[in-house]
Every structure is written in C-alpha cells, then in structure tokens.
C-alpha cells in the first residue's frame, strides 16, 4: 500500500513513563506549526502502570488520510520490549533510533537500516541534570534525521506552546526541555555527519 509516497511515518515506542506521548506531541505539533498536516495516534498495553506505550506520528504535506501506520519510516524504541515487538514494522532503508544506555539491540540485517544509537539518558543528565528529559533528547535526534522537513525552531516553539491539563509547562522546565532537545539535535547531526 502506497502510504510512503507523500508522508513520513514515525513510530515511537517505549516503557510507559518514558515520555513517548510527549515526544510524539512535540513532533506532531512542530509539523502542524510549520503548515504541514500531522496526526498522532497513541496505543498502550493493557496495564495501567508498567506497560509499553506507543505513539505513531504521520507527517504529510497535504492532508493525512489513513491515520494509522502500517509501516514506519522512522522507528524509536527505548526498551528491548519495544524493539522486539515492533522492529518488524520499520521499512527497509528506514531510520532506527534506540536508547543505547538502556539496552543493546541485536538488529537483524543491520545494514538495511540507518541505525542511530543514542545514550539519551546520559546526555539528558549531563545537560539538564534530569534523566527524565531523555525523551526530548531523542526528539532532537529524530529531528536531526528529518531536517529540513522539521525545523529546529518549530520544535522549540512547540515546547514553549506545549500545554498540559494543568496549564503550560513552567518556564524553567521549558528551558531545560529546549536544552535537552538541542543536545539531542547536535548529537544527531554529528552522528549523521559521521556516517557520511
């Protein structure tokens, strides 16, 4: 099915609590703010706590029609479970991003994919002092891979505009998020440059 022609499909997956949905919202919102269309669908395992969560983002120049992902162009897995469950959905030639301080995946036919290992937790802790910001670091890495479809400012604007049930993120948290994002972006840019 020809879904890949005019849109980018990103599948983010990890442990509930890894901030997967937040990452998906950042990417989707950034795209929307750039005049693209984007859809984010979220799936959880049945457990209320401790299960996996998955966020599928589709970004399209025109309108996104079929809102679900049958095959991903970009796949992020922050846990071994996520990797085992959904790596099969990554298309050949797709980009695979994983959290390298959490696990080391054994990738079948690794040469068919662009693989980016990211020590995101470490980067987050170094830059912001908070391991939790690991998800935003990974958003940075994914952004670097998608540039110029998604622009750096859009993500920063998305972080600033992000609201939660109880209102906006407070400014210090916003700034920490932005720092983490930029660190991820730098890491990704460097890594991709290194790959040539």
């Amino acid at each position: 099915m020809q879904q890949s022609l005019d849109q980018v499909r990103i599948r983010l997956m990890g442990l509930g609590g890894h901030g997967i949905v937040f990452a998906g919202r950042l990417l989707g919102m950034a795209a929307a703010m750039q005049g693209l269309d984007s859809i984010l669908t979220i799936t959880y395992s049945p457990e209320q706590r401790g299960g996996w969560s998955r966020a599928d983002v589709i970004i399209a120049k025109e309108m996104v029609d079929y809102p679900l992902i049958d095959e991903a162009d970009v796949f992020l897995a922050t846990t071994q479970q996520a990797f085992s469950l959904e790596f099969k959905s990554l298309r050949k030639g797709g980009i695979f991003v994983y959290e390298s301080t959490i696990y080391k995946p054994v990738i079948p036919n690794a040469n068919d994919y662009v693989v980016i290992p990211v020590p995101a937790t470490e980067i987050a802790e170094n830059v912001t002092g908070r391991r939790l910001m690991m998800n935003v670091v990974l958003v940075g890495v994914i952004t670097s891979a998608l540039e110029p479809l998604i622009k750096e400012e859009s993500i920063i604007n998305a972080i600033r505009g992000m609201t939660r049930r109880a209102g906006k993120l407070d400014t210090t948290v916003q700034e920490m998020n932005i720092k983490a994002f930029q660190a991820g972006l730098d890491y990704g840019r460097k890594y991709l440059k290194g790959m040539g």
């Binding site: 099915m1 919202r25 929307a32 984007s38 979220i42 029609d65 809102p67």
Partner: protein
C-alpha cells in the same frame, strides 16, 4: 449572526487562542464546546469519552461554567436538559452504552424542545463491547433510539479539526432549531492528535436560541404559528408549563387529535424542512466516478487512501462523505444515482448501518456494504480488495 468576539467579550482571553494547535479529538471537542459558549457539563465516566469530561472539569470553572459528574448517564442528560432550560448552553459526552441509556431523555429534549449537545464517542459494541476500540454502530440509534417521532441533528467528525468545528456547529444547530444535536465522534477521532486551526474570534459565528418578544400573558410556549417557537427561560417570569406529554400550544397535556398531530408534525418539520440548510457532506473525486464509496468518520481516511491508489490502477471510484448523519444528504445520493453511477459501496465499522440509509435514496442502483467490525477501522488494503471484489462482481 453574532460572533464569539461579540458574545464572549470578557472571556476571550480564556478561550483557546486562534491559530494552530495540536490536540486530541476529545480535547478539541471540549474546546469547541467552550468556544461555542457551553457553560454546563454533566456526565458519567465512560471509555473512550473520558478525556472530554476530565478536560471540561478543568476548563469550565475557568470560564465561569459548571461541571458535575452525575450518578449515571440518565441523570447526566437530564441535568443537561435542566441546565439548558435555565438558559445555559449545556452538553454531555458518552459512548455507546451510555448513549443507549440516554435515549429516553433525548426524546424528552425533543419534546420540550430544549437545545442540548451530546457527544457520543462511538466504541465497539454490542453491549459493553470493546471499550478501548472503535465502532460506528450508533448511527441509526442516534436518530431512531428514542420512541415516537422526532428529529435530531448528528455530525460526523473525521479528525480533531472537525471535532472542534462540528461541536461548535452542533451547538449552533441545537440552539437555532431547539433540538438535541449529537456529535458522533469515534474512539479513533477522540484519541488521535491532529492539527486544529482555531479561526479568529470574529470569524466564528454563534447562534442563540430564539427568545420570546411578547409579554408573558401573550406567550405560548409551543406556539404552532412558528416552526421553532421562541423559548422562555426558567426564572424569567414567563411561568410556562413545559410538558413532556403530548401538549397543546399552551403546554397543556392533550389527547386531542388535531393538537397531537400538529405538535408531532412540527417537531419533525423543523428539521426536515431545513435539511438542505443543515446537512453537510464532502465529495472527493466524484465528478467522473462510476462507483461511489460512502464512508464517514475516521474510516473515511482509509477509504480516501484506497481511492487514491485505486485511481492509479484505473478504477473510477469516488468518495461521498456525509458530515452530517442526520439530516442525511439523501438528495446527493439521488442525484448521483440518476446521473448513472454503477454502484454505491458503503464502508463503515459496522455490519451495515448507513448502508440502509443510502439504499433508501439509491433509486434502484445497487448498494453494497463492506462489513468490518473488529474494533479498528479497515486499512486501505482491505478497502481496496473488497471494493475491487464489488466492482468486478
């Protein structure tokens, strides 16, 4: 028609700002309601509509509205009708099982002609079904669920943007015609995040219910001289009997033949005579289509993708997407039928609901249904292969 900018001057800074947002369908619905002037919400938790209640409980107090979680769905819709009778735009949100429980009072809303909005985030059924997954099985229930003759309006959003827009429309239609308006969202629309553009406040038009202009002694609550009689608000001195029994113009119960018939006729006519004004639909590649797929809500996205691919393979297919289930744009189907369309194909997540409605208007042109009800929307491959089967016989 007044706009949001004129009507809610002091609350403008508390409304969702014009511009681009990235919201889930349920939040978009709730924000649409707040923008439309909804200031009362009563509901009972039910998956997958919970986000609407949760969001309203957070949002309504900010704009001077009130939220209550009632003891069940029946109480919720009753409270919504009560609040609307007191002059406050009100809504509730629920899903299939709760919608079933609300049916009796949808009849009450129709009979007392109290404007109200019900958001039904459809889930898989029957009975408790699959709470976390979608279905599109409530289409006919929305219109025929309550006993007796009445008409409602039902919108079918397909994405968060439409969830926002159609909720505003639902409020406007409900107020304009004094009917219960339903937003038939579904689990996927409710839970997916998408781009929502909020128009400038002076671009959003708001309709308010007709108000009586005559003094109380000349006022008839159900004046059959009007199609939509002006509505007296409780506590404004009109002191009228709002009667759920079949009633006269004055609001007194009656078993009189003429008075009963006149009332029921009016309840139905006010929508039927305005159906062209209310009904909305989208046509996609229909101009030269030989095969028309009728689909709506989140399913229509999958169908649209399938049509794109089928077109590249030389099939002349197009999409008719009703944006209002009720009133159904039957004349569009009729026109297509008389234009020489070969077949209508309905694709929905049920075993054939809108199928029956399309058949009603298809003028002998065959209508085929592609059944699908596993809790998910059919993927484009499924639609394509089945549409091919239908076309090739």
């Amino acid at each position: 028609m007044p706009t949001v900018a004129e009507l809610y001057k002091k609350d403008l800074d508390k409304l969702l700002k014009p511009g681009i947002h990235f919201l889930d369908g349920n939040t978009a619905t709730a924000e649409g309601a707040v923008t439309a002037g909804c200031r009362f919400y009563a509901g009972y938790p039910i998956t997958p509509s919970n986000e609407i209640a949760e969001y309203m409980s957070y949002r309504l107090p900010q704009v001077g509205g009130k939220f209550i979680q009632m003891e069940d769905e029946i109480a919720s819709i009753a409270a919504v009708l009560g609040a609307s009778a007191a002059g406050v735009k009100s809504m509730t949100a629920t899903s299939g099982p709760g919608f079933s429980l609300m049916q009796e009072n949808i009849g009450l809303g129709s009979m007392l002609e109290i404007p109200a909005v019900i958001v039904d985030v459809m889930r898989a059924g029957p009975s408790t079904g699959i709470p976390t997954l979608l279905g599109q099985g409530d289409i006919l229930q929305a219109k025929y669920g309550s006993h007796g003759d009445y008409e409602i309006v039902a919108y079918l959003p397909a994405n968060p943007q439409e969830a926002f827009d159609f909720t505003i429309k639902a409020f406007n239609t409900a107020e304009k015609y004094r009917v219960v308006a339903v937003v038939l969202s579904d689990q996927l629309v409710g839970h997916m995040y998408g781009k929502v553009r909020v128009p400038e406040f002076d671009e959003i038009e708001i309709v308010e219910r007709p108000k009586p202009t005559v003094p109380p002694d000349q006022y008839l609550p159900y004046d059959s001289k009007y199609l939509v009689p002006p509505m007296a608000i409780a506590g404004t001195g009109y002191r009228v009997n709002n009667e759920s029994l079949t009633h006269t113009d004055k609001g007194y119960p009656t078993t009189d033949k003429d008075a009963s018939f006149k009332l029921v006729m009016r309840l139905v006519r006010k929508i039927r005579e305005n159906e062209k004004e209310i009904a909305e639909w989208e046509e996609y590649l229909l101009d030269d289509a030989e095969y028309v797929i009728v689909s709506y809500g989140s399913t229509s996205g999958s169908v649209r993708r399938a049509i794109k691919v089928l077109r590249t393979q030389g099939y002349r297919v197009g999409l008719l997407r009703p944006k209002t289930a009720w009133p159904f744009p039957g004349w569009v189907v009729e026109n297509l039928a008389s234009r020489g369309v070969q077949k209508f194909i309905t694709v929905e997540v049920n075993m054939g609901k809108m199928y029956h409605v399309v058949r009603e208007f298809s003028r002998g042109v065959p209508v085929e249904h592609i059944p699908y009800a596993p809790g998910y929307i059919p993927d484009p491959d499924y639609v394509m292969s089945n549409v091919k089967k239908v076309i090739e016989g």
